[in-house]
């Protein structure tokens, strides 16, 4: 009964309701347990903080958003190019893929200071770190997609006497698009992590920078405010990619029932 009522509510409203419920629970727990504010503040306080300094938070949020977006875009472009190279020859497959896998074993957080040494403390190292962290998942997913074209479909392409480029454009790439989008969705979060790591190492702006400064003065409310904004940003990026996916892949199995589900 309750389940039916719940699913009668439009999906978007349901999502908002879940958030409201979580915040209410947080507030109730805060009132009941009343922890010291420097450990866990009340959600009301956090929201008040954000609202009281809209311009301040907007500037820093925008900075982190910008770094993430550029890093993400770089990751997608580089990832697509690398994936095409990997599938285009045995030699490149062995070299690029092996290097990439070896490189991915290194925690990218450990490389972040190196980027700062190389590129300074401006935007460039943040772009670079975000892109480096996010690119791997795109290559893995896209290469998988390129390789999962059925044997018969490749035979069809060969029998039509098309060039390898034609086969890539007409068959392999569209076939792998669902995989690319899966990789891109994972990459949004990874790019966000990358830009925060960059800001932790050296920055004078951004939500990561705010967190570092607030940590120094035990301003927990400020830290929570930045974390909430980061959460919202991650969601916006993720759902943006998913929205584009629906526009681009109306034919895909995972998208087909969207029409009547929403």
């Amino acid at each position: 009964m309750i389940v039916e009522l719940w699913f009668a509510i439009p999906k978007n409203v349901r999502v908002v309701l879940i958030f409201v419920l979580a915040i209410v629970l947080w507030q109730v727990a805060y009132v009941v347990l009343s922890p010291p504010e420097f450990l866990v503040p009340s959600p009301l306080k956090v929201v008040q903080r954000i609202v009281s300094m809209p311009e301040f938070f907007l500037i820093h949020t925008w900075r982190t958003f910008y770094e993430t977006l550029v890093g993400f875009t770089l990751a997608v472009v580089i990832g697509v190019v690398l994936s095409i190279l990997v599938i285009s020859s045995r030699f490149l497959e062995e070299t690029i893929y092996v290097i990439l896998v070896a490189f991915n074993g290194i925690p990218k957080v450990a490389i972040a200071p190196l980027f700062v040494v190389w590129m300074g403390t401006g935007l460039a190292p943040k772009f670079a770190i975000a892109a480096t962290i996010a690119v791997f998942v795109i290559v893995i997913d896209l290469v998988l997609g390129f390789r999962s074209v059925e044997r018969d479909m490749m035979d069809l392409a060969r029998s039509l006497r098309g060039s390898r480029f034609k086969t890539l454009i007409l068959i392999r790439f569209p076939h792998a698009l669902p995989n690319l989008f899966a990789g891109m969705k994972a990459a949004t979060t990874l790019a966000l992590i990358g830009s925060i790591v960059g800001e932790f190492v050296a920055a004078d702006r951004g939500l990561g920078y705010i967190i570092m400064v607030a940590q120094g003065s035990f301003d927990t409310v400020q830290i929570f405010a930045a974390i909430v904004l980061l959460g919202i940003m991650g969601m916006v990026l993720f759902f943006f990619v998913e929205w584009v996916e629906r526009l681009v892949l109306p034919w895909h199995v995972s998208m087909r029932d969207v029409g009547h589900a929403v």
Binding site: M153, D155, R158, S159, W251, V253, R256
Partner: protein
């Protein structure tokens, strides 16, 4: 009838770490110009491999395959293929799937558009041009795949168990549609199937294959009058031809007549 496809002493050996597998052994087969030739055999007898060799998709290990006196090395021109699975592109509409060959050779879509629409009409798909493959039934999808293979009006049509994944009624329907098209166009057809009755219904000749190694055991002339109908399947002549093929399979131990 002039010879269109000629396979001479064709063998195909797959080498793997566990040893060699002889997929085809000394295949000798000719297909006349405009002839409908079927190959029947149990699964794994190499009939699909033979088709792929004719299509230039697989290299042969020995012997030669000639299409109109030209040795096959890689896919030749003027060829249409239909696979068991329709291999339609999910992201393209029906009409765009049929027009795929044009895009592969960077041709002008407009030139072939009316031909594509005409083919779809012929296969009772009029009005479905703008649908996506997943909106169609299995039989309709395979019809689209056949239209795609026929777009460039190829002289040679290779069909690899094209109706094997369809239900019996749809299969019957498509058999008749295929026969009608073939009657009009008289293309050279190499048709792979494991259904004896389908082979007898459609073909001028039926080549019977055995497995391990894949060899042609016998080639049988099907001298039933055309156009063929389902009613013919109940005739003595049809039954006799079916029995002849079945007896070959029984003698090879592929079919057992006693339970």
């Amino acid at each position: 009838m002039s010879v269109y496809v000629a396979a001479r002493d064709v063998s195909k050996i797959y080498t793997s770490r566990r040893g060699n597998i002889e997929a085809l052994r000394s295949i000798n087969l000719t297909i006349g110009n405009g002839e409908f030739l079927s190959i029947v055999g149990p699964s794994g007898c190499g009939k699909s491999t033979l088709l792929k060799c004719v299509a230039g998709l697989e290299e042969i290990s020995a012997g030669s395959i000639r299409i109109q006196d030209r040795e096959v090395h890689g896919p030749p021109e003027n060829l249409g293929i239909v696979f068991q699975r329709d291999v339609l592109l999910d992201w393209r509409t029906v009409i765009d799937n049929v027009l795929l060959p044009v895009e592969f050779r960077s041709g002008d879509r407009k030139e072939k558009l009316s031909r594509a629409v005409e083919l779809l009409r012929l296969f009772h798909l009029h009005g479905f041009e703008q649908r996506y493959p997943w909106e169609l039934s299995g039989g309709m999808r395979q019809r689209v795949a056949i239209c795609r293979a026929l777009l460039d009006d190829p002289a040679l049509l290779l069909m690899d168990e094209p109706f094997g994944a369809l239900d019996a009624l749809t299969r019957d329907e498509l058999n008749i549609e295929l026969q009608t098209i073939w009657d009009k166009t008289k293309k050279t057809v190499l048709f792979i199937t494991h259904s004896i009755s389908e082979a007898v219904l459609l073909s001028d000749r039926v080549a019977v294959m055995k497995k391990m190694p894949g060899e042609i055991v016998e080639i049988i002339d099907i001298d039933l009058p055309r156009p063929r109908t389902f009613a013919m399947r109940e005739t003595m002549e049809f039954g006799a031809l079916m029995r002849r093929i079945r007896v070959i399979f029984e003698s090879l131990g592929i079919l057992r007549s006693q339970p």
